[in-house]
Symmetry: C2
Subunit: 385 residues, 2 copies
């Protein structure tokens, strides 16, 4: 039971479905982990990618983490029966020699490879990932998972009209709730964006806004005061992720839900957030990205840290917007999943042709994560060879 | 005024001067930044490396940060007179598009390139770096800088005898204070190591101990109780760098100086440390590594954050142990510099033949950082081409 080859490539990604709009320089990593397990005459290959938002990690994957997997002794990555990979043991092999602190970049590199290992292990088991993972953790699997659509990035031209179109398209696809970006163009324009999006979604209670960590202290309080009367679904990434004084001042002034944690990547930081972040477990939302947080083993530690601090699992709505997050939300019994149906092609969204009904999706049934159900993404992975 | 080429390589480094002892898998990055400024018929080249302790960053340097420097428009990296590089502007070019949070790895990659830019700029100015930097910041330059010797890693065989030899050698070289590692082999062996090292240095007041983030809460308190009566110079990196509850419990129980910050890499985390870390500005020590903290521009922000929170500059004894830190300590008026005279060859230590007298060193006078005064290191840099 070994990983015999790991292939990796960086790819450009765009916030926009429209290829005419500049992509902004974002990248992510795709990997293929080739196992020595053969099914139907071919080696089982697990696919992973670095989620979205924190750049590709090709160097760290090639130079530090893939070599540790490839060098693992025979049996060191196997489960107790010796019949499958154990992604938790593989994770320990990747993290060997890593030092405390410094939770950036490497957490994404490890998470990228970790995704491919879970894909491979679930494929070897012949189970969709949510079932494989739920069985492993002794958890029930729900029939369907609540979703919301991420998107609403500022358009360089015709912003309001295009935003309105985008939100209507999401509603037509079956989404009931969505999230848009604010914080870039001034509060007056943000309020116009919110009004346009909320109208397309049947009310501001179906709309979350994401400030992308843009505000310093006074700007955060000004925005909170302007947004408070609107009754938004949530107000996300208000300030720098480590700026707990500003976040605390905002939750003291803003009665609605505040969402945080997308740019924190470790259980160590999660514990600081729980202790000093000024958040309220009875209403606030936790966004940690399971890929960016050292993959599932790191994410499980974060869930443990936050639930030990009194947070409900329903507070977790993980960042990501893709198939992997959907499985994770289902298997771990979390609040719901972000989906990016129109952003970050070919990564955002769930299965091609998957139907969203009244804001819920049923679960993919292909073995593994099911990237093979997404033609564009599967093509990209297969180009790894 | 442009950077026309950046060359980079990863090199293995060892905690031990003795090449027979396994090096433990540590690496660092070396870079050469070639400018379009010609002196004595040749382009001025700045050299930098990734300090020690956090792995090489070749991928991030090649794929993300060097390309931004190389793509900078003509004049975008120049000072106001247009006659030299401005490393602060170059830093802004490197950080363009970087997101808040995630302070690991990239901070080392940026710091590595930043070191080369300061070396190049000081060479273009014809000044040793401490003078170039002090002039820029309007600060005085001292005649000499207080030092201590880092080292004292556990030896795989004959630990106590070799440790004693190492400490005697450091005393013979002119060091009065030194630091050794604890936390790996149990408290009883640690106390024997401390006794042996302290005897060679003329007393425990000249000895700091570094637990390398090894202790959880109960182990940290047990160690603190055992060390408190010894009167050590300081007790370093007690627990996980983000485990502020344990650190706070230790400072409540341990009257002597505690040192922290080596594994925190950003001003955002420094502010959390100041607010929640349980440290005491009247006695505790701040170890932030100027290279690992996004280079000098990041380190200056950390100094600003900590001095605004009531910390004196004398509390800063930066991690690193090499020539660059010596210049930084001198130019910024910090407490003193770590030097690794016997570890991490050829990176540790100050100039070849530089004389340490009673724990102080005078300052290097070559233009730039003066890596050219270290034969082994200069050879390594020149192999970059």
């Amino acid at each position: 039971m070994r990983i015999v080859d790991i292939r990796e490539r960086s790819v450009a990604i765009s916030r926009y479905a429209d290829p005419a709009i500049p992509s902004g320089g974002l990248t992510t990593s795709i990997v293929a982990a080739v196992t020595d397990v053969v099914r139907d005459g071919r080696p089982v290959v697990g696919y992973g990618f670095g989620s979205i938002g924190r750049f590709a990690q090709g160097g760290l994957i090639r130079e530090r983490f893939a070599p540790r997997l490839l060098a693992a002794a025979d049996g060191a990555l196997a489960d107790t029966a010796g019949t499958n990979l154990d992604p938790l043991r593989a994770w320990a092999a990747m993290m060997a020699g890593e030092k405390p602190g410094g939770h950036g970049e490497r957490c994404v590199a490890v998470g990228t490879l970790d995704m491919a290992l879970w894909d491979a292990a679930a494929k070897i088991a012949g189970l969709p990932l949510h079932r494989f993972l739920a069985d492993r953790l002794g958890r029930p699997v729900p029939e369907r998972v609540p979703l919301y659509a991420g998107g609403g990035y500022p358009y360089p031209a015709d912003d309001l009209a295009r935003l309105r179109d985008e939100m209507r398209q999401l509603a037509d696809l079956g989404y009931r709730r969505a999230k848009i970006k604010i914080g870039a163009a001034g509060l007056a324009q943000d309020l116009r964006r919110i009004e346009a999006a909320a109208a397309a979604l049947g009310g501001a209670g179906n709309l979350a806004v994401d400030a992308m960590n843009a505000y310093n202290g006074p700007a955060a309080l000004e925005a909170a005061a302007a947004l408070a009367p609107l009754g938004l679904w949530w107000f996300e990434d208000v300030c720098d992720p480590h700026d707990f004084p500003t976040q605390t001042a905002v939750t003291a002034a803003y009665p609605g839900p505040v969402a945080a944690g997308e740019a924190l990547f470790s259980a160590a930081e999660a514990r600081l957030l729980a202790r000093h972040g000024g958040l309220r477990p009875d209403r606030d939302i936790l966004l940690f990205d399971p890929v960016h947080c050292y993959g599932l083993p790191g994410y499980l530690r974060i869930i443990d840290a936050m639930t030990a601090a009194g947070w409900p699992r329903q507070a977790f709505w993980p960042h990501g917007g893709h198939l992997f997050t959907l499985h994770v939300v289902a298997a771990l019994g979390l609040g719901g999943a972000e989906v990016n149906p129109l952003c970050f092609p070919p990564f955002g969204g769930i299965g091609d042709g998957a139907i969203v009904t009244d804001g819920f999706a049923s679960l993919p049934q292909l073995p593994g994560i099911g990237f093979e159900s997404r033609a564009g993404l599967h093509r990209l992975f297969r180009e790894l060879g």
